[in-house]
């Protein structure tokens, strides 16, 4: 009798805990507040996997060193130096004349310590050195680029306003982004994926753009385009600009970017504000170049190229470009959150609209109720009162699955719903095994007590065994599966464990109670 009461306490505790953990899904204000999370395939949303082009981050680090090198050579007035970049990862320097070589080497002693000289000729009249980033340094830059991209994207998503986003690193250079319930997926994707590198460059007015387009672009200059879209016809036009390659100032020195409305035309624009250093640089640049045109370039597209009328102090500027309100808002967010250290590409995108998600839930529930109803009907017709017990246990299984999902913070996905539906079918298997065994023992002429004991004892081992293989499959699926499939592995395992518990422990308890306390001669099975 003592064992009996211990089991009773355990069973009641499990049932109480299961019910407790299911309530917050419907009434989130009730303790323990853990509700079942729906996967993106059920509530709609966007799943993105981005690859950070880390090689580009290394390249731009080299480009910066290359620009520094040219600047240093100019500043130290070393003659006969011709730097080149034969490949994106390398700088090649040729120096003529012994005196120049001395000076150049002296400069390298002090400056540009980040570069490794990977090959050099002996000290003759011409010195050729190949410089690149050391391997460890390149790896460090790559790692930093991904960290920074992650942080930037997180900032952007936060400011865009998505509830419960999940943004994390995946592998070496990938970023996984899950945005549940998002409506305007296109806009979110555009905002996340844009590099948002803001640059200020001078227009090269030494040569006509069209001449540059026809023939050679002067060294140190490049052609970039301004793209305009006619709001009515949706047709785009491209205007070329010849710009000096040197970037005078970037968006890195911004402190703020916000949307303002032009009082004259009523068009939105983005006003930007520089930090102290940026403001000083901006003042110097505008002061030195009065009368010239300064281009505002965003992700290699020219937005505007106004002529500098006078020195601009105070560190404020505006970016115009026929924005819609939304475009201006997203641009401001991107600028505030900062530029991505390297471009990103979308490797995988899965978007589910909210209407499809709710359709899936509805269809899943219908399948569950129709199938479950039929199973319950069969169980009751076939096993009568014992069948009713099995039906109660089936409902308890579902409650335990729900509670498990909530308690472990697991996500219910569409395959997860399928797993739940499947486990209804598998759960009754265990009851059937026990009931059939009891029937068989009764046919062999055993007493009621003997048949029930033998039935449970013999069937329990078989039940444990038969379910282990399903659990193995579920464990492997969980290990190797992607999000939705993991959801399936979770509900299937929860269902299997729950049904072993109800069929073996709960049923036994009920049978024992009836046999011990009622004076029954037959059981309805």
């Amino acid at each position: 009798m003592k064992r009996f009461s211990v089991r009773l306490v355990i069973v009641l505790a499990v049932i109480a805990a299961a019910i407790l953990y299911c309530i917050p899904t419907f009434r989130p204000e009730i303790w323990p507040h853990q509700k079942i999370n729906l996967g993106l395939d059920l509530q709609g949303g966007m799943h993105l996997v981005l690859a950070v082009d880390t090689a580009k981050a290394v390249e731009s680090a080299i480009e910066r060193s290359y620009q520094d090198l040219r600047e240093l050579v100019r500043k130290n007035q070393i003659q006969g130096v011709s730097p080149e970049r034969p490949s994106p990862a390398r700088i090649l320097v040729r120096v003529q004349g012994r005196e120049n070589i001395e000076k150049f080497k002296g400069m390298l002693e002090k400056e540009l310590r980040e570069l490794k000289i990977s090959a050099q000729t002996p000290d003759l009249d011409t010195y050729v050195a190949t410089m690149e980033l050391p391997g460890g340094e390149a790896d460090q830059i790559k790692k930093l680029a991904v960290d920074q991209a992650l942080e930037t994207i997180r900032n952007r998503v936060d400011q865009f306003g998505v509830s419960e986003p999940d943004i994390r690193r995946q592998g070496d250079d990938r970023i996984l982004i899950q945005l549940p319930g998002i409506q305007d997926t296109q806009r979110a994707k555009d905002l996340i994926g844009r590099t948002a590198l803001l640059e200020f460059k001078l227009v090269d007015e030494s040569r006509d753009v069209n001449a540059a387009l026809q023939g050679s672009v002067p060294p140190g200059s490049e052609v970039l385009y301004k793209v305009d879209e006619d709001p009515a016809t949706k047709r785009t036009s491209r205007t070329p600009f010849l710009l000096k390659k040197t970037t005078l100032l970037t968006g890195a020195s911004l402190t703020d970017a916000r949307v303002q409305i032009d009082s004259q035309y009523g068009e939105p624009y983005v006003s930007i504000e520089f930090d102290r250093k940026g403001a000083r640089a901006f003042e110097r640049i505008t002061g030195e170049n009065v009368g010239k045109r300064l281009a505002i370039v965003l992700d290699n597209k020219v937005y505007s190229a106004p002529t500098i009328q006078e020195k601009i102090a105070g560190g404020k500027a505006r970016i115009t470009g026929r924005f819609t309100m939304e475009e201006a808002r997203d641009l401001a967010i991107a600028l505030r959150a900062g530029a991505l250290p390297a471009p990103v590409t979308v490797l995988e995108e899965r978007t589910v609209g909210p209407s499809l998600g709710s359709d899936s839930i509805r269809q899943g529930l219908i399948a569950m109720m129709v199938g479950g109803g039929l199973v319950m009907f069969f169980m009751i017709v076939y096993y009568k009162l014992s069948g009713i017990l099995a039906v109660f246990e089936l409902i308890l299984d579902l409650v335990i699955i729900g509670a498990g999902l909530a308690a472990f913070g697991a996500t219910l996905t569409l395959p997860g719903m399928a797993g739940t539906i499947l486990s209804i079918g598998m759960a009754v298997d265990n009851n059937i095994l026990i009931y059939e065994r009891i029937r068989e023992e009764l046919r062999l002429g055993k007493t009621l007590r003997g048949a029930v004991d033998a039935g449970f004892d013999r069937a329990t081992l078989t039940i444990l065994d038969a379910n282990v293989t399903t659990l193995i499959a579920a464990a492997v699926l969980y290990q190797f599966g992607t999000g939705p499939v993991r959801g399936f592995a979770v509900t299937l395992s929860l269902g299997v464990v729950a049904s072993i518990f109800t069929a073996v422990v709960v049923s036994r308890l009920v049978f024992d109670y009836i046999l011990n306390t009622q004076k029954v001669k037959t059981i309805s099975i």
Binding site: K189, G353, G371, L422, T469, G481, P484, L492
Partner: protein, 346 residues
């Protein structure tokens, strides 16, 4: 008196018909292997890369018009398929194009709406790049390999209770797979090789029950995959999940029959094995039919009512469970007998 689907004194001759069963299974296996290896499985977007776009129109639309709209968006080599009820005007578009550029989906819906002359909603968009596709394929194959290995090791110990032999088998099997892996043998080749090693080991060590179980298992998964391939269904991550579930569940039934065979062997040591096996199958027949039948009820309702996205998954389970039930009666148990007869002849 309780209701019985199967009379408790039933005695059908299952074992006697095993030659027929072997023939039927052999033909099914051959067809499956032909479809899987000669024609090759049709990979879904998950594994092959590409895009799936599920769209819903407000009114009637001809498929040609949808194609026009796609062409205007530079999407070529597409298959457009109507799904669900015709009144839903819902279509599934599959293409190799992997377009994720800025403004793509708004451009697409504009072009589709213009071509169709009715409003359109993009309900689902899945774009998988070739790199991710390759990663997912590798993961799926590893999942299949590991679940087969773990299951093989489990049944080698479980069915005979000779755990030291099973440990040895696990070591040899693990070593063989590790060796193949370090020699850079691709996983699609490792899987059949590992299975051959397993079967040979079970045969050599005389683990007849484990042998029957693993043969039935291979039988079930191969035929399920083969049927999907013959029906020209796509292999996606969820279909692989279904195949792994079949691995788990097909054994469920086999274990129940085997447990009964062993119990009867202990009870009736004088009776020939053929009779014992046949008797055991008959004794467990009613629970086999009840358990498999009710699980099938759930799978069928999932197949019919669960919606388009889960359809192929449910189909795979449906085929696998039916084949699994058949194999635990007609394949797994007779193989034990066949092995015993061979062993006696030697």
């Amino acid at each position: 008196m309780s209701i019985e689907i199967i009379k408790s004194n039933i005695n059908l001759d299952f074992v006697g018909k095993r030659k027929w069963a072997y023939t039927v299974s052999g033909i099914l296996l051959l067809l499956s292997l032909l479809s899987l290896f000669v024609r090759g499985p049709k990979y879904g977007v998950d594994f092959a890369g590409g895009s799936i776009i599920q769209v819903k129109f407000a009114g009637d639309v001809a498929i040609d018009k949808i194609r026009n709209g796609l062409q205007a968006t530079n999407i070529e080599s597409v298959s457009v398929q109507s799904i669900g009820d015709a009144r839903d005007h819902e279509f599934l578009i599959r293409t190799d194009t992997m377009e994720t550029s800025q403004g793509f989906s708004s451009k697409l819906s504009q072009n589709l709406a213009a071509a169709a002359g009715t409003a359109v909603e993009i309900r689902r968009l899945e774009v998988v790049g070739p790199q991710v596709g390759m990663d997912l394929r590798e993961k799926a194959l590893l999942a299949i390999l590991f679940s087969l290995l773990l299951t093989a090791i489990y049944i080698s110990g479980r069915f005979e209770f000779k755990w030291y032999q099973s440990t040895l088998i696990a070591a040899i099997l693990g070593g063989a797979v590790y060796a193949l892996y370090t020699f850079n043998v691709p996983i699609p080749y490792i899987i059949p090789l590992a299975l051959v090693v397993t079967i040979v080991l079970f045969w050599v060590f005389g683990l007849k029950y484990a042998l029957g179980a693993i043969v039935a298992l291979i039988h079930d998964v191969t035929i399920s995959a083969g049927v999907l391939s013959i029906l020209d269904k796509e292999f996606t991550i969820t279909v692989i999940a279904a195949l792994l579930t079949i691995i788990g569940y097909s054994l469920n039934d086999t274990i129940i029959v085997y447990d009964r065979i062993r119990e009867n062997v202990r009870k009736l040591s004088k009776t020939p094995l053929g009779v014992i096996i046949n008797r055991s199958v008959n004794e467990t027949l009613s629970r086999t039919i009840m358990t498999q039948g009710l699980t099938l009820v759930m799978v069928i309702s999932l197949f019919l009512l669960g919606g388009e996205i889960i359809h192929d998954f449910a189909l795979a389970l449906l085929v696998g469970f039916v084949v699994g039930t058949y194999s635990s009666i007609y394949v797994a148990s007779p193989i034990v007998l066949t092995w015993e007869e061979r062993a006696k002849k030697r």
